[in-house]
Symmetry: C2
Subunit: 461 residues, 2 copies
């Protein structure tokens, strides 16, 4: 694509569209919007705009489309595949200024939100109403970013991904048109499902300015358990059996021995350092939950579990979740001289044990520091492999392992990305995963954004 | 659209594409494929073809596209909005010959199917494996038809609609291209969601030739209850409260007094003849279910319930479901001189009581025979209104009531069609419901099917 060479007049025109405090061409602003939490190469935008309403977004997109200026939407910059890096420069729209919880409709289990709402803040607001928005990516993320990436996390095994919770969207298209999609009814067979075309499209088809999310009731009873295994293979086998038995956990997480060592040391949680499953169940009756947790325990023991700790209290559970959620950061902090690469494949659950074995074997052979953790109940695996910064040879080894794991996952009927999105890092696998349908994705991109101004350089090889 | 004037040479060409027994231009074949179960005007195709494999479908579509001949896919003809009526003639593809259960992957809770599989047959096969495909439209429907219409039914309140169970599709596009969509992994953030664009598109974008469905485990315990109310309004109020309490029924059905009268008389089931909720709960523990059913009973009594019968055995439950599923047919049989019109709106659950009241009031004022039943837990309402056949004035009254109810539902944030699809009957409401996004749906139709050969005359006004 040929983009506009942005001149002073363009900057002045765009600057006049919002109040002075919400526009910046400053170096530090542009720097702050040049990278996400991945190791993908930073790239500065030419300017950052903090819009306040859909009309402003519409006016900016109209102008940008007319003058062929790239526009990339920005939530918290917490993504992991370079998804919001403005690789062609242009405008970054930072949505932190559009962060209103417009209305919580308890009576319909719905909330209307602006895209800049942070999901932890939403759940804090909803808590005393007995409701929550379940997808739980861990990082501090905005609703807009979660919709863009179809984010998911620890709760997805029971409650689904972001896409399963989006009922209605208001999006601004490349030319500035504001379009509404979806319905507030809990089901519909009316027309084409354009809504889900936009969820997970990483801001390349349009920019979300309002969303209605489906909420869930907070269960009245919880019960957590920690199972320590003799090997990763045993733990993976237990995951498959727990899913097969239909026990329906609300979290089923795997942590490798390296992760457990880190968690025990860094978080000061007394834990057995071995491959571990952390699981949680929820329901309306404590007695029923006890049965479920006991059954899970039996399955674990039949699969090489060395130690099964159930009846875990809220405090210990919360600390475990916190440790799990901050693993990424903890790893970075513990290896300041190394570059982080995180795989994000997902495979059908029957292939989960083989995938874990494959990732173990391939990564062990490198001799590099490594950590493996997984939303195991969904067959979603993250392997963190750490090559020394500026060491090209180690960088190549890491890349090669990632490539092998992704290709293996696709071969198993799985996907190159379970939850991080394609961004920059997974583009090269799209043809392999999607075959001829990738061409149709491109044609749809061309239909909605013929000049290619929306988040260029993402998704497509 | 200008379609080809089909000549003998076209018929001969197409006839040569399949074995003799799987092609027909005969009057009775064409008659049998001229109408579904709605009252929409019948229209014959020029020929019917029974394909055996995706390659045949591909060859037929390639030819049809080249010669601009309409092609309409056919499952069982059980739809209710004229969805498969070949209004522009041409070819009907009857998929009853592509009805193989290709593979059940118990280990992944998945099944690979051809589109002609009848869902009751699928569930019969799955039963002894402890699995089932939950969407339950009642009528004998094929998987292909269910995907085309995004069908749903009594189990949707807990398990979702067809769209929530489709993981992978193989579709043949207008020009004959065979395209695969989706993944076998239980979650993915890889590329645009084209899969859900095809689910519910009523065969207007492409024709499904293979599908992978996500299956659910059959719960070990069930418990059903029947609650009789003093009025439809009270029953509707109880529905809202049951949902709000998070009791999570697997069925929550409303039947009006007229339906109950019919069920009691026709099916010989001893029942109180009054507005009724039929509900079912499921789980892994009988004790837990008893608590849930008791709580539902309390809610019902607080909302004007006259009689609450719980602990219903399997036999009585099955008879109730059978009666509910055959209501449509029973109504037709009881009114041979009348034309059936069935509304199919869905509204947010908080608006369900007002919607029931509105439908009650509007339909009562006509003095015509009427029946109201509802997948109440989803806010999905069917009002059957019966005008005399050939009586134009009564026909107009019926149409007007349908129009009013649909507009009211849209005004309430709901949808013109909860589960029957747009077909012919709901086209006129699409602009009202979808606004400017309808234009984008049309553009997507134009992208995939530029000559408009696939199921013409449906969805778009």
């Amino acid at each position: 694509m040929e983009y506009c060479c942005i001149e002073a007049s363009h900057v002045a025109d765009l600057g006049r569209m919002v109040e002075p405090g919400r526009f910046s061409c400053g170096e530090s602003s542009c720097d702050l919007h040049s990278r996400d939490q991945s190791s993908h190469k930073a790239c500065r935008p030419r300017m950052v705009i903090w819009p306040l309403c859909q009309e402003e977004v519409s006016r900016i997109l109209f102008y940008a489309d007319e003058h062929v200026i790239p526009v990339t939407a920005w939530g918290m910059g917490s993504s992991l595949e370079g998804n919001p890096i403005p690789v062609s420069g242009g405008i970054v729209l930072n949505f932190s200024t559009m962060n209103r919880i417009i209305r919580v409709r308890d009576e319909d289990f719905q909330a209307d939100l602006e895209p800049g709402v942070i999901y932890q803040n939403l759940n804090e607001t909803l808590r005393h109403r007995g409701l929550f928005f379940p997808p739980d990516p861990g990082a501090r993320a905005t609703i807009g970013g979660m919709i863009g990436n179809n984010a998911s996390g620890s709760r997805t095994v029971r409650y689904g991904a972001t896409k399963d919770h989006v009922m209605r969207l208001k999006v601004v298209l490349a030319g500035g048109e504001i379009m509404e999609l979806g319905t507030r009814a809990s089901k519909s067979s009316s027309g084409y499902d354009l809504l889900h075309l936009f969820v997970g499209s990483e801001g390349t088809l349009g920019i979300v300015v309002e969303a209605t999310l489906r909420l869930s009731a907070i269960p009245s009873e919880f019960s957590a358990a920690i199972a320590s295994f003799d090997s990763a293979a045993s733990a993976a086998g237990a995951v498959f059996e727990i899913r097969r038995a239909g026990l329906d956990p609300i979290a089923l997480e795997f942590l490798s021995i390296e992760c457990m060592e880190l968690v025990a040391r860094e978080m000061g949680i007394a834990l057995k350092v071995s491959p571990t499953l952390f699981m949680e169940f929820a329901g309306a009756s404590a007695g029923y939950l006890k049965d479920v947790v006991d059954t899970a325990g039996e399955i674990c023991r039949e699969n090489g579990c060395l130690d099964y700790e159930s009846g875990i209290g809220r405090d210990r559970r919360d600390r475990m979740f916190k440790a799990r959620h901050s693993l990424g950061e903890t790893i970075v902090r513990n290896h300041p001289d190394r570059k982080v690469m995180t795989t994000d494949v997902a495979v059908p659950i029957s292939r989960f044990p083989s995938m874990i074995a494959f990732a173990e074997q391939e990564s062990a052979a490198t001799g590099l520091p490594r950590y493996m953790f997984s939303h195991a109940g969904d067959g979603n695996i993250h392997l963190v492999l750490l090559g020394k910064k500026e060491d090209e040879a180690e960088g190549c080894i890491v890349e090669e392992i990632n490539r092998k794991i992704v290709l293996k996952a696709i071969e198993m009927g799985g996907t190159a990305t379970g939850e991080h999105g394609v961004g920059i890092g997974k583009r090269c696998f799209m043809e392999k995963e999607h075959g001829t349908s990738l061409g149709w994705m491109k044609r749809i991109k061309g239909l909605f954004d013929p000049k290619g101004i929306l988040n260029p350089g993402k998704i497509f090889p």
